[in-house]
């Protein structure tokens, strides 16, 4: 079915609160999904993929700060979706970069990482240059790099596979964020490296996609929409005769 951006955002917000997210996290999560979908970056598909995990997670379990110094922070997301309170890890990196000019933040053990792009747009709006980097799998090894220029509403995105990557047994379930106050950090492919360019999206591509989404609406599959609606319905209160009559004028409208 087709839905509007505002509908997807609104339904998402209510559904996330229904799951047990704090209000601020629900607002951010819904914005991330809708933002990604409107820019053609698969927000709805990512949510669909991660929703079953989300429903089994404890939304009140906060991420843990494993290490920090003035420039560098490492956090553990406990195998939770980035849609939860992981935005605070991003904000920690932002605060460090504001103080120090540059920061590196690593969030380990998190899912739905692609959705972080929707939140990074907030930081760019506040004047921060941001690059996010993560790896998706081992065979073939795929790297994704997203770069926001300060003040720009949309990023540039590179996705590529590496053909001759050195052996590496670390799990690819983390994300690294680099933020800089004063210099651009845009992704740029090195042509002399053995890689296959899978996707490169420019700012113009993403803005075109957004304009088209506003005209055409966003496609959401019925099953996911019904699931979100049933989660959102958890916030509704059963009606009673007194609640029904108390909310109106108490008089006939046949006048």
């Amino acid at each position: 079915m087709k839905v509007s951006f505002n509908e997807l955002q609104g339904m998402g917000r209510k559904a996330f609160i229904g799951i047990g997210f704090a209000e601020g996290d629900a607002i951010d999560a819904a914005e991330m999904v809708a933002w990604m979908e409107a820019h053609g970056l698969g927000g709805v598909a990512a949510l669909k993929k991660g929703l079953d995990y989300l429903l089994t997670e404890d939304p009140t379990e906060a991420l843990t700060l494993v290490y920090q110094d003035a420039d560098f922070s490492v956090l553990d997301a406990h195998n939770h979706s980035i849609l939860g309170n992981a935005s605070l890890a991003v904000e920690l990196g932002y605060a460090r970069a504001r103080a120090r000019g540059l920061s590196v933040t690593k969030i380990g053990r998190c899912h739905n990482r692609v959705l972080v792009i929707g939140y990074l747009s907030r930081l760019a709006r506040r004047g921060m240059n941001v690059t996010a980097f993560w790896r998706n799998s081992h065979e073939p090894l795929i790297e994704q790099v997203v770069g926001f220029k300060a003040g720009h509403p949309v990023p540039e995105i590179c996705v590529y596979s590496l053909e001759n990557a050195p052996d590496d047994t670390e799990k690819n379930d983390g994300i690294t964020l680099i933020m800089a106050n004063h210099v651009d950090l845009l992704p740029s492919l090195r042509s002399d490296y053995a890689l296959t360019n899978l996707m490169r999206q420019t700012e113009e591509d993403l803005e075109r996609q957004r304009d088209s989404a506003l005209v055409e609406g966003l496609e959401v599959d019925d099953q996911l929409w019904n699931t979100l609606k049933s989660l959102a319905d958890r916030l509704l209160v059963e009606a009673t005769e007194s609640s029904r009559s108390g909310a109106g004028s108490g008089a006939s409208d046949n006048d």
């Binding site: 509007s4 509908e7 935005s87 605070l88 509704l236 209160v237 609640s243 108390g246």
Partner: protein, 576 residues
């Protein structure tokens, strides 16, 4: 682009503690910056034209009518579906499932396939899936007494008695006017680059204005059906005096609380206009203009009828106050301090509604400057976190900018008497008594005051442990506070950040919230039907489509005369 208002160096804005007081906000009137006024000015200035391209009303006035709107930039269509409605199904509540008229504003053409889709979905309103080219979706119910009286009178070759429109100023009242992506229609973001409808609620206001046009055509059609030989058209003065009603309840409250930056922008533009107006040197002409406006407003309130006891008293107080203002002003000369003296005098001797009425009328005197602000009434609603801020600075910000929120006393049951929630019945917003009714665990977080109070307490404890801590460190310890913190940080930087009231408080009156929003829409004739339900009138007195056409001239005087329709008074029946 900076407007003249921006370059005024030191405007004396009224303090937020005064302006954002809920009782004062609940005393506001429509002004020349209200959205309905602004829309009519734009239509006249830009020579918008409306033509009927399809009219298929049957002998009962049921069927479809399509209007074409041409602006300098785009083409739109208004599609109206009128149907028979059994009286037992007629309800103004959101829980209704059928209405006398349902309608939509469409961007572009209405092809047969789109019309078919709309015919199947628009009458269902929330229960339908609407097309993304619809900009506005709405519905309305008849004012049965007025409607029947008008058809009967016109069919007999008479003009209806204007007193009917003074009692109830419309033939139809809308019960919801949806925009911004609701039920599949276009997002507001789509309109942001569209000069026709990029102001807040301007597309919705146009749809309501079009309904007014339809209502006139429909009663004239029915009168002709009843008596083709004797029927007459509605007199132009009555057409002008005819508005469109709106019936609304608690649904407006969540919007006000969930769009604090937009509300700040609306209030800021109005307050800036007032601050500028009061600094202008009064002249003999402007003093007389104000007297004229006061006389008309006085008559408007003398004629205004409501069954609500409290609003009747408020109207009576306004009438007494305005009469006193007229007497006072009559004795005064146009000295340089006249406006300041008038406002000081009004503070001492006038009711709250009358004080705000004087402010509204002062703004009327300076259109050249003030109308520029109408392009600044919109904004993107984004609450931003400042994670690097020191917790001590955030605490200080609460103390200096949100002191009103710290008045909340968790130990006092009256301070958390109400809770707000959405009912399972079409998600209708409702109020419950916390100690008596179930559902408080699912309440909507609309009471900003108590939330800020809670944040303040947590900040206080955190500061004991981490005197140099940052906001992000505080939030890592209290992640649930993120939304409240970024709201404090964002709104704390604005002059009119928040409605300063505890929405849980036993003494809180939801009617003030409704009136706040409705006044910016341009509503008049506030007619409460309970403590949380109100009927109002929009566009009463506004010029008609046929009067807006540039064939009549586009000189400044004519446009100013077209714009002068606030606080309308009953037309003389002998002159119809």
């Amino acid at each position: 682009m900076a407007t003249q208002l921006d370059v005024q160096p030191q405007l004396k804005l009224r303090p937020a503690s005064r302006v954002m007081n809920l009782v004062r906000l609940g005393s506001l009137h429509a002004s020349r910056l209200s959205f309905s006024r602004s829309l009519v000015r734009q239509m006249a200035r830009e020579d918008w034209t409306v033509t009927t391209v399809r009219s298929e009303l049957d002998e009962q006035g049921h069927g479809a009518v399509i209007y074409r709107l041409q602006t300098p930039h785009h083409t739109y269509h208004g599609v109206m579906f009128s149907q028979h409605l059994e009286p037992e199904r007629r309800s103004d509540r959101v829980i209704a499932e059928a209405w006398d008229v349902t309608f939509a504003l469409v961007q572009g053409e209405v092809e047969d396939t789109l019309l078919e889709q709309m015919a199947a979905n628009v009458p269902l309103q929330e229960a339908g899936r609407q097309h993304p080219r619809l900009l506005v979706l709405s519905r309305a119910n008849k004012s049965l007494r007025n409607f029947d009286h008008f058809v009967e009178a016109l069919a007999l070759g008479h003009q209806p008695d204007p007193a009917w429109l003074t009692r109830v100023g419309y033939l139809y009242r809308t019960t919801a006017v949806y925009g911004n992506g609701k039920f599949g229609i276009a997002d507001y973001a789509r309109l942001q680059k569209n000069p026709d409808f990029n102001r807040p609620f301007s597309a919705q206001m146009f749809a309501v204005y079009l309904l007014r046009h339809f209502s006139i055509q429909q009663v004239e059609h029915l009168a002709r059906v009843r008596s083709v030989d004797r029927a007459v058209g509605l007199a132009p003065a009555l057409q002008r005096y005819l508005g469109i009603g709106n019936s609304t309840g608690l649904g407006m409250a969540p919007f006000l609380i969930n769009h604090p930056q937009l509300i700040q922008q609306w209030v800021y533009c109005r307050e800036r206009a007032l601050a500028w107006a009061r600094e202008q040197p009064p002249t003999v002409v402007s003093r007389l203009q104000l007297m004229t406006l006061l006389h008309r407003a006085h008559q408007h309130f003398v004629e205004t009828v409501t069954e609500d006891g409290e609003q009747t008293q408020r109207n009576a107080a306004t009438i007494v106050s305005i009469a006193a203002v007229i007497r006072w002003l009559d004795q005064m000369q146009a000295t340089p301090n006249l406006w300041e003296e008038l406002l000081d005098w009004a503070d001492d001797y006038c009711s709250l509604e009358a004080q705000e009425l004087i402010n509204t009328l002062l703004i009327e005197l300076y259109p050249d400057l003030i109308d520029a602000a109408e392009n600044e009434l919109g904004c993107e609603e984004i609450l931003e976190l400042q994670p690097e801020m020191r917790v001590a600075a955030l605490k200080q910000m609460i103390e200096s900018r949100f002191a009103w929120a710290l008045d909340y006393d968790p130990k006092n049951p009256d301070h958390h008497y109400w809770f707000w929630y959405r009912s399972v019945e079409k998600e209708e917003p409702r109020l419950g008594v916390r100690s008596d009714e179930h559902g408080a665990e699912k309440e909507l977080s609309l009471a900003i005051g108590p939330r800020i109070h809670r944040t303040y307490q947590l900040l206080d404890a955190f500061l004991d442990r981490s005197p140099r801590g940052s906001v992000v460190e505080f939030l890592m310890a209290h992640p649930g506070q993120k939304e409240c913190v970024r709201r404090i940080q964002t709104m704390g930087a604005t002059p009119y950040g928040e409605i300063q009231a505890n929405l849980w408080h036993r003494g809180m009156k939801p009617m003030h919230l409704l009136r706040t929003k409705l006044s910016f829409f341009g509503a008049s004739r506030f007619d409460p039907k309970s403590d949380r339900w109100v009927r109002v009138t929009l566009f009463q007195g506004a010029p008609l489509f046929c009067e807006l056409f540039s064939d009549h001239g586009t000189d400044k005087e004519r446009l100013a005369a077209l714009d002068d329709w606030s606080f309308p008074v009953e037309p003389d029946s002998d002159l119809l």
